[in-house]
C-alpha cells in the first residue's frame, strides 16, 4: 500500500453536541411535545394530576401502537391507508369467528392474527408485484375492507355490530392480555401503554441494530441503490406491511376486549391519524428517514392535545385545528433537517 497520504480537511469544523442533537429525527416532536405539555399545564386545570396523565397516556397508546409500525413503513418509503379499518377488521374476525364457531375466544384471536397478517401481506405483494404507488394499492384495500366490514357483519349478525362474546370461555384471560388495567399506587394504567412501549422498544431495536433495519432505511431512501447492492427489497416491503397488520391485530383485540362488541363502521379516518403521528415524530413523507421513538412522541402529542382540550373545557372542535397546525410545523422542520442532511448533494 503506497498511497497512505491522509487528506484531512481544515474546513471541517468540530460538530458541537447541539448540532448533533439538531440532526436527530425526533427533535421537532420533542420540542413540540414540551410546548404542548407546558401549554396545557398552564391553561387546563387538573392536567398535571396523575389520573389525567394516565388518561393522556391511554389515548396516546391507542394511537401509538399503530403509529410505530406505520412509521417503520413510512421510513421504508410506503403508505398504508388501510391501517385504520384493518384494526376494525381484525376485531370483527376475532369476535365473529369465536361466536359462530362457538370456540374458545383465543381461537378467534389466533385466526384473527392469521387473517390480519394475510391482509398485510396482500398489500405488500400487490405493491411489489404491480409497482403501483402504495397510495393507490392501499386506498383500494381501505375501500374493500370498509365494505367487507359492514357487509359481512350485516350478513352474519344481521346488524352493524357484533354479538357479545363476554360469556365465552377465554374472554377474561384475553381481556387480561389486551384490555386490562394495572394499578400503580392509586392510579390506574391501561395495559395498552405497556404494549405501546414494548413496540417502540422492539421497533427501535430493529431499526438501529439489525440488518432488517438497515434494509428498511435503504429501501425508503434509494430503492434502486438498495437493490443494486443485494438488499431484498420485496421481502422488506412485504415484511413492513405485515408489521402494520400485527399492530392492527393488537389494536383490534384491544377494541374487542374492552368493549365486548365491535361496531363494524369504526376505524375510518384513523389511518391518517397514524400517519400524522409518524410525520410529527420526524418521519419523512418521502421515506428513508425517521424513528420509532419519534412516532411515540407524535402519538403522545396527540394524546395530550385530545385530552388537554377536554381538561381545559374547550369545544373539542379545536382539536383538529391544533393537529393541523402541529402537522404543518413538524413537516416544515423536517424539510429543513433533510435539506441540511443532503446539503451538498
Amino acid at each position: 500500500m503506497s498511497a497512505t497520504t491522509v487528506s484531512s480537511d481544515e474546513r471541517l469544523l468540530e460538530t458541537s453536541p447541539l448540532r448533533k442533537l439538531l440532526g436527530r429525527p425526533e427533535l421537532g416532536s420533542v420540542v413540540g411535545a414540551i410546548a404542548v405539555f407546558v401549554f396545557f399545564a398552564l391553561v387546563a386545570d387538573g392536567f398535571l394530576r396523575a389520573s389525567s396523565l394516565s388518561t393522556v397516556l391511554y389515548a396516546s397508546s391507542t394511537i401509538g401502537i399503530m403509529a410505530v409500525p406505520v412509521a417503520l413503513l413510512m421510513i421504508g418509503g410506503e403508505f398504508d391507508l388501510s391501517a385504520g379499518v384493518l384494526v376494525t377488521s381484525s376485531a370483527l374476525v376475532s369476535s365473529m369467528f369465536s361466536y359462530q364457531m362457538t370456540a374458545n375466544t383465543w381461537v378467534g384471536v389466533g385466526v384473527s392474527l392469521l387473517v390480519t397478517l394475510a391482509i398485510g401481506a396482500f398489500n405488500g405483494i400487490m405493491l411489489t408485484r404491480t409497482k403501483l404507488p402504495s397510495f393507490i394499492i392501499t386506498l383500494g384495500t381501505f375501500l374493500m375492507l370498509t365494505g367487507m366490514n359492514l357487509g359481512f357483519t350485516k350478513l352474519i349478525d344481521g346488524t352493524v355490530s357484533t354479538k357479545s362474546i363476554a360469556d365465552m370461555e377465554g374472554f377474561s384471560s384475553a381481556q387480561d392480555v389486551f384490555a386490562s388495567t394495572l394499578t400503580i399506587g392509586d392510579v390506574d394504567f391501561k395495559i395498552t401503554i405497556l404494549w405501546w412501549l414494548g413496540l417502540v422498544a422492539l421497533a427501535s431495536w430493529i431499526l438501529l441494530r439489525t440488518r432488517a433495519g438497515n434494509w428498511i432505511f435503504a429501501v425508503g431512501g434509494n430503492q434502486d441503490a438498495a437493490r443494486a447492492v443485494g438488499v431484498p427489497v420485496t421481502k422488506t416491503k412485504i415484511g413492513l406491511y405485515m408489521g402494520v397488520a400485527f399492530g392492527a391485530w393488537i389494536s383490534g383485540q384491544h377494541l374487542l376486549f374492552s368493549y365486548d362488541v365491535v361496531q363494524s363502521g369504526e376505524g375510518v379516518g384513523n389511518e391518517l391519524i397514524y400517519i400524522i403521528a409518524a410525520v410529527i415524530g420526524g418521519c419523512l413523507i418521502t421515506g428513508g428517514y425517521g424513528s420509532a421513538v419519534g412516532s411515540a412522541v407524535g402519538a403522545f402529542i396527540f394524546g395530550m392535545t385530545s385530552k388537554g382540550i377536554v381538561f381545559a373545557e374547550w369545544n373539542p372542535d379545536w382539536f383538529k385545528f391544533f393537529l393541523g397546525a402541529m402537522l404543518l410545523l413538524a413537516t416544515l422542520l423536517n424539510a429543513w433537517v433533510r435539506k441540511r442532511a443532503e446539503a451538498t448533494k
Binding site: T5, V6, N214, A343
Partner: protein
C-alpha cells in the same frame, strides 16, 4: 495473468451497431483506460464487462476462461465490481451503513442477532483511511459528502468486499481539479492492492497519469490501442480530441 480479456467484441441494439471489434486486456495490478467522446461506445463496453448486457460477437475471457456474463450478480460473484457515475448509495443513510449495505456483519444468536455496529464503524473508517481518506465522522449521512468522497467510498467498498477487477465509469467527470486528484490517487491505491482497473474517461490527462494501457473508442469502433511506452500524452490528447478533425476545425475557425 490476464484478469479480463475482450477479443474483437461487438454489440448490436437492433439495427444499431453500438460496438464493433473492440479488444482490451486488464491484468492484475494494472490500469486499462478506455477513452472516447460521447457516443463512442464506452457505456456499452462497461455494460458488457459488468454483466448488464451480453455481447453478441467476439470473446470475453475471465482468468483465461471464455465466458458470457448473464447478470450483474454473476459479474460481482466473479470479482468484477462496477462503480457507476450515478452511485449506488442511499444519501440519507450514514456512511458506515452505506458501506456495508447488503452485506452487514452480524453477531449474537437467535432473536438477539444484530449488526456488529462497532466493527462496521471501525472497518469503514479503517478501510477509507487505508485508501487515503480520513473521514472523521462515519456517522454523517453519505449525502453530505462531496461527489469525489462518495466515489471514494464506493471504490473502497468494492475493494473491501474482495473485488478483483474494478470498473470505473467516468469517476472524475463531474469533479473539480483537487477532487479528481483524490479519486486518481485512490485508483492508483486500488491498483497497488493488486486489482485490475478498467478506467473509463474522456479526459486523456487523467488517463495518462495512471494508465498502463489505453484503448481509444470512436463511434463504436476501436481506433487505437496503446501501451504506456508506445504513446506520449500529446499524441493521446490529440487522438482523443479528434486528431485530424481538430486540425480541420482549427482551420475553419481561423479568422479570414
Amino acid at each position: 495473468m490476464t484478469l479480463v480479456e475482450l477479443a474483437d467484441v461487438s454489440k448490436h441494439y437492433g439495427n444499431i451497431r453500438a460496438l464493433a471489434g473492440v479488444s482490451l486486456e486488464v491484468d492484475t495490478g494494472e490500469i486499462t483506460c478506455v477513452l472516447g467522446d460521447n457516443g463512442a461506445g464506452k457505456s456499452t463496453l462497461i455494460k458488457i464487462i459488468s454483466g448488464l448486457h451480453q455481447h453478441d460477437g467476439g470473446v470475453l475471457r475471465l482468468d483465461g476462461e471464455e465466458t458470457m456474463l448473464s447478470s450483474p450478480r454473476e459479474a460481482l460473484d466473479r470479482g468484477i465490481a462496477t462503480v457507476y457515475q450515478d452511485l449506488a448509495v442511499v444519501p440519507l443513510m450514514p456512511v458506515w451503513r452505506n458501506f456495508f449495505l447488503g452485506s452487514e456483519p452480524r453477531k449474537g444468536v437467535g432473536p438477539f442477532k444484530r449488526m456488529d455496529v462497532e466493527v462496521m464503524k471501525r472497518t469503514t473508517h479503517a478501510e477509507l483511511l487505508r485508501m487515503g481518506i480520513d473521514l472523521r465522522d462515519v456517522d454523517q449521512p453519505i449525502g453530505t459528502l462531496s461527489g469525489g468522497e462518495r466515489q471514494c467510498v464506493a471504490i473502497a467498498r468494492a475493494v473491501h468486499f474482495g473485488a478483483k477487477v474494478l470498473v470505473l465509469d467516468e469517476p472524475t467527470a463531474a469533479l473539480g481539479v483537487k477532487q479528481s486528484g483524490v479519486v486518481l490517487k485512490l485508483v492508483a491505491a486500488a491498483r497497488d492492492e493488486g486489482l485490475g482497473v478498467v478506467f473509463i474517461t474522456h479526459n486523456p490527462h487523467h488517463a495518462y497519469m495512471v494508465g498502463d494501457r489505453f484503448v481509444l473508442l470512436k463511434r463504436g469502433t476501436m481506433v487505437g490501442s496503446y501501451t504506456r511506452e508506445s504513446i506520449e500524452l500529446d499524441e493521446l490528447t490529440r487522438q482523443m480530441a479528434g486528431g485530424n478533425e481538430l486540425d480541420d476545425l482549427r482551420h475553419e475557425l481561423k479568422r479570414a
